[in-house]
């Protein structure tokens, strides 16, 4: 099964366990990255893969960058994704997408949420928020999905489901069936938020980029 993932997705260029798929979720504290990572990991487990999901707690969560690594395959050892070995980078925020771009493998895929959250040096006017991030990412990535997940989340009824919209879009590129995703979502999401989460997930899962976008 592992080799299939590779064929479906992207070729790796390094020796080692060939059949592990590497995802990085990068964003800012409060964007719901840990929830998305947990659903990804649980769905991969339900599909029968070995899984590791690393989380960030404590100091790093106080408005800082948050990253979660999700790795699954036949057998997963390290819980971290090395530079240049990420198959799929899910950037919950543009600057964080840029920050983790060097972890992407050649030909890797990026899902880029068109959200901008200024870090403190930009807020205080000491640094500039980098311009044209989608273009920079396009130069490096094999393929890029641009999505305004915040707007979609709003249409679903809760701005807090940005993570679930992105999760849905991510899910589309992974070798796990839609039923498993929805089942996992029902298991992990709090019951009172399930309907809105399900809607957000499906919106992400069925999302197609408008043509001609930057």
């Amino acid at each position: 099964m592992g080799a299939q993932i590779k064929d479906e997705l992207t070729k790796k260029r390094w020796p080692g366990p060939e059949d592990v798929y590497n995802i990085i979720l990068a964003g800012v504290g409060g964007q719901g990255i840990l929830f998305a990572a947990r659903v990804l990991g649980t769905a991969a487990l339900m599909k029968g893969y070995d899984v590791k999901v690393s989380e960030v707690h404590g100091m790093a969560q106080r408005g800082g960058s948050v990253v979660s690594y999700v790795r699954f395959g036949r057998k997963v050892y390290a819980p971290v994704v090395e530079k240049g070995r990420c198959d799929l980078l899910v950037a919950f925020e543009e600057l964080e997408g840029l920050r983790w771009l060097d972890h992407l493998c050649t030909g890797g895929r990026v899902i880029l949420n068109r959200q901008r959250i200024d870090p403190m040096p930009v807020i205080s006017g000491k640094a500039e928020y980098p311009k044209e991030i989608p273009a920079i990412i396009r130069r490096r990535a094999g393929s890029v999905e641009l999505v305004d997940a915040l707007t979609i989340a709003g249409e679903c009824g809760s701005l807090r489901t940005v993570n679930t919209v992105l999760l849905g879009l991510t899910a589309r590129f992974l070798p796990v069936e839609e039923e498993i995703w929805l089942e996992t979502l029902a298991e992990v999401a709090p019951a009172r938020m399930l309907d809105v989460n399900r809607q957000a997930f499906i919106r992400g899962y069925r999302y197609t980029q408008p043509s001609g976008q930057a």
Binding site: V53, G58, A60, G64, Y77, P79, V80, E96
Partner: protein, 619 residues
Amino acid sequence: MKELMLGNEAVARGAYEAGVTVATAYPGTPSTEITETISRYKEIYCEWAPNEKVALEVAAGAAIGGARVLCTMKHVGLNVAADPLFTLSYTGINGGLVIVVADDPGMHSSQNEQDTRYYALAAKIPLLEPADAQECRDYILTAFSLSEEFDCPVLVRLTTRVAHTRGVVIVGERKTAPLWDYVKNFSKYVMLPGMARQRREIVEQRMARLAEAANTYSLANMYVDQHADTPGDTLADTHTQTQTDLQLNRVEAGNGKTAVITSGIAYQYAREVFGEVSYLKLGMVHPLPERLVVDFAQGREELYVIEEGDPFLETQLKALGIRVTGKKLFPATGELLPGVLRERIFGANTKEEKEEAKAGAQVEAIPTRPPVLCPGCPHRGVFYVLKKLGLTVLGDIGCYTLGALPPTGAMDACICMGASIGMLHGMEKARGPEFAGKAVAVIGDSTFIHSGITGLTDLVYNKGRGTVIILDNNTTGMTGHQNHPGTGFDLRGEPTNRLDLVQVAKAVGVRRVKVVDPFALTELEKAVKEEVQAEDPSVIIARRPCVLLDRSKTRVLVRVDEEKCTFCRRCLAIGCPAVAVSRTAGEKKGRIVINETLCTGCMLCVQLCPFGAIERVER
């Protein structure tokens, strides 16, 4: 059943299955979720103790009282708990006692990188080191068997990447552990010198037996056999069912003549980089299974010891005369991530990587995203005032340590939990009483209760005149909002007796105690000025709940009147993420804007604006 669990959750699960009935802890990243998970198991009594020393003492009493007990903390917490630890090694236990300590290589959320393995060596107790979530669950079960078999506390060392990684865990059922009889045993539990001398010998004998046992591959099996005569539905069954194939110290034979000795998370990193070579994976890191390592090392052309942190294993391997490559090649500092290992072994740059580095260099400078005090954080005003007054600030451990960063930048030192008060007192004794007029100690409520009370006692007793500011946000903020004795609620959120900070300060002899609202900048500044000038020691309690606890109550926010704003930027001095500079391209001056999604309506910036340009509006 298979579940995706955090290492910390798996530790809790293991304790649950092992029949633990008492669990104690003080919160600390990366260990906190263990106790939070335990609190969901109704069969286990669990508590947040005021500090790790008390947590371990409660655990010691419970274990000697016959129960199976889990005690958890972060690495620096073990420094606080070291006193009971070293002598518990002498007395031994009765019911099993397992102490889980979470180290933080790379210092994700810690002030140092100390290596807990040395405590096992120094205190002469065994230490197990799981490498993933499944082993977290399994090793806890084994640790309890070992603890009762060898009559000693057992350390289990986690590191951040084990504690905070979710992995697949096969869980079992809880088995009731017996509450062992408590029998008074003066010569075992009263460590007067005469008795301690006898126990000292027993400690050495115990470690020798443990070292011998560690040589066998499947240590756990041994205990299954020894427990087999225990009747009924007890732990023996659990072990037979779930641990028969658990090998604490295991050899994984591979290809070629390269071999690796490793343990914990470093094992995972090594597997990632070295692939199918031979491994000796140590689950029991102390005592070292000497015969096993000597046998394994025999005839290897290339032998590496891969361990994160200090050369703990390496030093012992070399003492055995084994030629092994370790810290000469791999760094002792930071995390020993696969990328680091790969670079040290295979060299830095392949042609491809060089090209990529070049491509990467084209990307413009990426602004950092440092952690910041949250919008509406009650600590912010205090640091603004301290900076304004130009005081020397002895700081402490918590979210508020972020007050040291620009733009507030109001902290001179931060060493460990509770140190601020003693350091303030020491500085005054070194530099003279007038120095107390230019300095304060700043400490959070949970930290003050953890180990600030003794510091304050010292300051009063030894005639200091320092001013201590207690940042009372009614929670343990940084670790994720745990209750503490000052909140009036226990670990499970049940109401309980409440420690009164004002009464405590008065009881240790402080006559000048003030409570102020840290959002009322004028009163706060006045209070600080008065108290640092006072000849007597003083305590200012800056009291307001953590903004993350009552965010929903916010009904107001603020806006900038562009007509009145002169862009003087005084409002930026508080470093609030909701107060931003906005510039359109080519514009030199810029404007101040309030980010309404972040603003909590704390009104600090309103108080700072000399032009009345920031106005309160109803949401």
